[in-house]
């Protein structure tokens, strides 16, 4: 309904030779979207690493993997971030100020804290040096991690770009879901050979995919005409399919790995021709194949989401209709309020 209403005034707005009113984001591909992906994954890995420390019987393998994912994601993401700058040699200027009005300033400090904690946690896990420091760092990175995965949504929403600014409520949830799906997918790949350890990362992948899918659907519904740039962006459509499909596959991959026949019945089993009743060799291999396919789809989906959000934002900035028409509607609504009030 919102879509139909908003399509009407688009035909009757005036502009300066169809030129954009605002400047489109100048952030480059692949740097910026890959940073969003890697930073998000790093944050979700850090949460896993912290939770592993809180468990009664921590798994050393899962804990080390999560710490490594957090540190590597953060480090490679930071490289993409620095090379994105117009003057990379001045990247330390980000540390000149602490500025709450700038999400990029806050993000730089979050990144610095998160990167340091992740590096200490991973270094300790790999070398075995100072286990108490590694444990403390891993626990602390459980706080910086969720900030790391969501601050980037504030970063893009805090612009004049219509498709970003108006999506400021849902983007943090979209990014959080995408981060969990991405990290869960990497965890599934890392635990392919040890399916008995895979349950937490698989659940994280499924929950992340669900959160991303719901946030995306709510966002497009609420945005009305401003959802068009997202709907028209092929990478965004691909991301929706890959994430939802990957999440479903991840859920399915649990079926053959289960030990009893209890999950062998019903829709899940009907969907799969796999030997789900027994945990024979065949079941194990089928579970691995499904898990690998799910991880590939979820990773592709998480990456496509970040590229898609950048491209949809750019498209909404480049078409003056998305800037002018909502502002005109806002003015008209204010005028109506004045008349009736």
């Amino acid at each position: 309904m919102a879509r139909e209403r908003a399509m009407v005034p688009k035909a009757e707005f005036s502009s300066y030779y169809g030129r954009p009113v605002i400047k489109a984001p100048i952030w480059h591909e692949p740097n910026m979207p890959l940073y969003l992906y890697l930073g998000g994954v790093s944050g979700a890995c850090a949460v896993s690493a912290a939770l592993e420390e809180l468990r009664a019987e921590p798994s050393r393998r899962l804990g080390t993997l999560a710490r490594l994912g957090s540190a590597l994601g953060c480090a490679t993401g930071a490289i993409f971030l620095v090379t994105e700058l117009g003057r990379p040699e001045r990247f330390l200027n980000m540390m000149r100020v602490f500025k709450p009005t700038s999400p990029m300033s806050m993000g730089s400090w979050i990144l610095a804290a998160h990167g340091g904690l992740s590096a200490v946690a991973a270094g300790s896990a790999v070398t075995g040096v100072l286990p108490w420091a590694g444990r403390s760092a891993a626990l602390a990175s459980g706080v910086t991690g969720p900030l790391m995965s969501t601050y980037t949504a504030v970063l893009v929403a805090d612009t004049a770009v219509p498709a970003w600014h108006e999506a400021r409520r849902e983007l943090p949830f979209l990014f959080a879901g995408s981060a969990m799906a991405g990290a869960g997918a990497l965890g599934m790949l890392a635990t392919l050979a040890m399916p008995e350890e895979a349950a937490p990362v698989r659940r994280m992948a499924v929950l992340g995919a669900a959160l991303e899918t719901v946030a995306g659907a709510v966002m497009e519904r609420r945005l009305g005409a401003l959802a068009e740039p997202y709907r028209r962006e092929p990478l965004m459509r691909a991301a929706r399919l890959l994430t939802a499909g990957g999440g479903a596959l991840a859920a399915l991959s649990a079926v053959p790995a289960r030990r009893t026949g209890r999950t062998g019945r019903g829709a899940l089993a009907a969907l799969s021709t796999l030997p789900s009743r027994r945990t024979g060799r065949g079941g194990r291999v089928a579970g691995m194949v499904l898990a690998a396919a799910a991880a590939a789809a979820l990773t592709a989906g998480a990456v496509c989401t970040r590229f898609g959000v950048l491209r949809a934002g750019r498209a909404s900035a480049e078409d003056p209709a998305y800037t002018i028409v909502p502002q005109r509607e806002r003015l008209a609504a204010a005028e109506r309020d004045q008349v009736s009030g």
Binding site: R55, P103, P146, T159, A160, L207, L211, P320
Partner: protein, 248 residues
Amino acid sequence: MSERMGFFTDTSVCIGCKACEVACKEWNDVPDDGFVFRATSYDNTGALGASTWRHVAFVETADNWLMASDVCKHCTHAACLDVCPTGALFRTEFDTVVVQADVCNGCGYCVPACPYGVIDRREDDGRAWKCTMCYDRQRGGLEPACSKACPTDSIQFGPLDELRERADERLAALHAQGRSEARLYGESPGDGVGGDGAFFLLMAEPEVYGLPPDPVVTTRDLPSMWRWAAAAALTMAAAAAASTTWRR
């Protein structure tokens, strides 16, 4: 802190000579912005940008020619200044907004933050650039190059309070002449950016000149954005905790 200085650009007397564009380039040593023949009007500059700090718009309507010299608005609530993560952008003693070229690291955040599409990154140089309202000339007690060069006084420079009074008088005079299409743009401290340090008298709707009809500083919504992000971060932590196998 001295008085707040500003520009009042009265487009009703602009003749489209582009002396302001030229004077700005000359004084500020701004490089060329490409030699493009746009084939839409007498305007081949197109828009403000990293290497275009004054831009004369040209619109041919059914009954007249509209010309307007656009410039950085030096907003009261400046989004570029708010989002700059290095402190390169700062507010001067004249209440104008200026980029320090020796600090800017070219992060590009100010570019999509500006609701007017003014500031931009010069790609061969890597830093963000825009109008400084001739900060150097002002410090030397001179008026900016564009207003100095304007042959019709379409661009007027002075203390903002005086300019606002002058603009009100000019608007009343135009309305008395029956020019009901005349309107002020960016003069009101009550608008979405708290009023512009550089405001305009326009002879048509702002979007006709490429200006946004109701610009809002994006950081006005920042507190709510952080709240939504905090909710998402907590959701994420809770979902991760729910994923964990707490007991075997």
